[in-house]
């Protein structure tokens, strides 16, 4: 998934990270270390713009430190949006939704099951989704609770309104099963490629609406050996990316282990004195 996300980055793009989204930051580091060395990165809600020659290691405990060690600029949210408004055509920002529907509407607000479940909130997703020429979504968990017929609450606008807002917009979705797009056609979300090892039946049964599936289904090109090595050895040796696939107790256990490992690593490495 991360490699697919990294592939979305163009050589002169600005990669922006919202809240949390560790897989996004790993993808950005990978992109910069491979095909997009001149791309910029704005981390931690876009507040910190970083520059590096070597990809830093992704971190949970020390993400702000890693970012600040490489920072060329820090700014508040208003300035982040100044960048977004000016450079919307070249920003790559990955959103993770609670729900996404057939036309690419997303929801991070409330989910209506037997009772209403309050999610943490969309933060900037509703603001920025329609501004980007290509709205980028990632869904580590592809199941019927995420991929729904119609979202319970529209945060990020999809492409069913058909109005001027939709013109020229594309929504690209990368999930654990494949790569998809929505681009204003009446058929809604279309499969672009299926990841190696995934069968169509599994995709269909895990999607809560009718996906438009081509006759000949392309297979997503797998990661290269270099990309895998970079991710596993340099950028994310702690396997932080795995957290995004887990939930509940599994996630907590994995996280606790990761924190102890990170603490050990930090203590035994040489720490660069932060500038005060």
């Amino acid at each position: 998934m991360i490699v697919c996300m990294a592939r979305e980055v163009g050589s002169k793009d600005i990669m922006a990270q919202g809240l949390t989204t560790p897989m996004a930051i790993i993808a950005y580091y990978l992109a910069k270390a491979t095909h997009a060395p001149e791309a910029s990165i704005m981390q931690l809600a876009g507040n910190i713009m970083v520059y590096f020659d070597e990809p830093p290691q992704a971190s949970i405990l020390y993400n702000e430190y890693r970012a600040m060690e490489h920072a060329v600029h820090i700014c508040g949210q208003n300035e982040v949006y100044e960048t977004i408004f000016k450079r919307a055509g070249s920003i790559v920002e990955f959103f993770r939704p609670g729900q996404i529907d057939k036309f690419g509407n997303t929801n991070n607000s409330i989910v209506k099951t037997e009772r209403t479940v309050r999610l943490p909130g969309g933060f900037g997703i509703p603001d920025a989704s329609p501004l980007y020429r290509k709205t980028l979504i990632y869904c580590p968990r592809h199941d019927r609770r995420v991929f729904v017929e119609k979202v319970d609450h529209i945060g990020g606008l999809g492409l069913n309104s058909g109005g001027a807002e939709s013109a020229g917009r594309e929504i690209r979705i990368i999930s654990e099963l494949g790569v998809f797009r929505v681009d204003g056609g009446s058929e809604g979300m279309r499969l672009m490629s299926l990841h190696p090892g995934v069968d169509v039946e599994s995709l269909v049964s895990n999607t809560g609406f009718e996906l438009s599936i081509p006759e000949n289904i392309p297979e997503t090109p797998p990661p290269t050996g270099l990309e895998l090595r970079l991710i596993r050895e340099k950028i994310d040796p702690l396997n932080i990316r795995r957290l995004e696939f887990l939930s509940g107790d599994d996630r907590l256990e994995a996280l606790k282990k990761m924190l102890d490992e990170e603490l050990q690593m930090w203590r035994s490495s040489r720490v660069k004195q932060p500038k005060i």
């Binding site: 507040n47 309104s161 996280l255």
Partner: protein
């Protein structure tokens, strides 16, 4: 000496005095972002003082909002996100909203920023096309109108003015000239738009320390009313570069909540101690040494 402007007067007070200046029913803005640089020592003191019916404005909330809601002090909340980031949901926020125990208005980054920036421009509202067509806008209940210039439909994002803004910063002098570092979120906007601003600082430095290095200051004293020295005042949230997030403590807090025992947490760590220093003693040196970063 005649000619000194009002901004250059000593504003240093104790944590207690600062919090006593906050009244029941106040519209309080809390700075920081989720698990970064939250003014926790002030919030603990407010809980001990038993303030009620607070109306909160929080850009990105986390342990701060959750703790205040758990203590029953919150009447309403305006926020664009409330959660513990990688640790997941904010449990008391979630259940209070689901049960209708507090009035919650879901914002986005833009709706809060525009509301704050309207103050900075002395404008009644900010007109924009953003959020048209979303259910989030419906939830906000903001009015739309036709632009007198182009005739297109626009949203009127009303000015949002907090009574008091609470910010935790790295360094501040006794006049309120401050260096806010790391993730800034909307702290500077809050300081410039709120009626009063209380700053807790890891370190209070001498006024002369900043003179000659104006690039160091990003929050000038003209916007600050009270200054409090509060080392580790953001715990368990982070304060770059001094300490990172105490995720272990947050995990423990979430465990209390999971077991329906948040009142026990409050009694142990907040109402059962008389100061934030005592709270830090309880957290313990071993735990704190885990999060301190060399060079801080």
């Amino acid at each position: 000496m005649s000619g000194w402007c009002e901004c250059l007067r000593g504003k240093r007070v104790s944590l207690r005095e600062a919090c006593e200046s906050i009244s029941d029913g106040d519209f309080l803005a809390i700075g920081g972002l989720t698990i970064h640089r939250k003014p926790m020592s002030m919030l603990h003191e407010l809980i001990r003082l038993g303030r009620r019916s607070l109306r909160l404005l929080v850009f990105g909330g986390g342990p701060d909002v959750d703790l205040l809601i758990a203590s029953g002090m919150v009447e309403s909340l305006d926020a664009a996100y409330v959660g513990f980031e990688i640790l997941g949901f904010a449990p008391n926020f979630r259940s209070a909203v689901e049960r209708g125990e507090i009035r919650f208005t879901e914002h986005t980054e833009y709706s809060i920023m525009a509301g704050l920036q309207a103050n900075l421009l002395n404008a009644e509202f900010i007109p924009s096309r953003l959020l048209l067509g979303t259910d989030v806008l419906k939830g906000l209940g903001y009015k739309t109108f036709r632009s007198p210039l182009t005739g297109e439909v626009l949203v009127a994002y009303p000015r949002i003015t907090a009574d008091v803004a609470l910010l935790h910063v790295q360094r501040c002098d006794e006049y309120g000239n401050a260096r806010v570092d790391g993730v800034l979120a909307v702290d500077l906007l809050l300081a410039k738009s709120s009626r009063r601003v209380i700053v807790t600082a890891e370190k209070i430095v001498s006024a002369g320390d900043f003179a000659g290095s104006p690039a160091e200051i990003n929050l000038p004293s003209t916007f600050v009313d009270m200054v409090v020295e509060s080392p580790l005042g953001a715990h368990p949230t982070s304060c770059y570069p001094y300490y990172t997030y105490d995720l272990w403590h947050m995990i423990s807090y979430l465990e209390y909540c999971r077991r329906g025992m948040v009142d026990d947490y409050l009694r142990k760590y907040v109402t059962g101690v008389e100061s934030f220093e005592s709270y830090l003693d309880l957290v313990g040196e071993d735990s704190l040494s885990r999060i301190m970063v060399e060079g801080g």
